[in-house]
Symmetry: C2
Subunit: 67 residues, 2 copies
């Protein structure tokens, strides 16, 4: 499970949304939300950010914080 997947899953719960809610509000497909939460790595960056925007977040480059 990737860090991103965990992040989205948790934030979604915190916001009290279902996957369907999130996909509709963010404007990405339901399938995308699922693949995102399941840790698919080949996702498109803009779509990921589109979802993260719902939580006031975004993807940013950062030094790898060890294990």
């Amino acid at each position: 499970m990737t860090q991103l997947a965990k992040y989205v899953k948790e934030m979604r719960k915190q916001f009290g949304l279902t996957q369907v809610d999130l996909s509709q509000k963010s404007g990405v497909g339901l399938r995308f939300v699922r693949e995102l939460e399941q840790g698919k790595t080949t996702l498109r960056l803009d779509k990921v950010n589109q979802v993260l925007a719902m939580f006031g977040a975004e993807m940013t480059p950062a030094k790898i914080t060890e294990v």
Copy 2:
């Protein structure tokens, strides 16, 4: 110019690499490196991380830090 684009450009300079060097060392295409440094937003996350790994970095979700 996106934050990511700036980050890569700067790190690449710091490491004394050309775009060609970086593309070869990271294993992505030269065109990808260019689009990355030019702020294309529809890049694939795994490829971006593949490049960032050269600098010991990765993409992570984070609260949007204002303007």
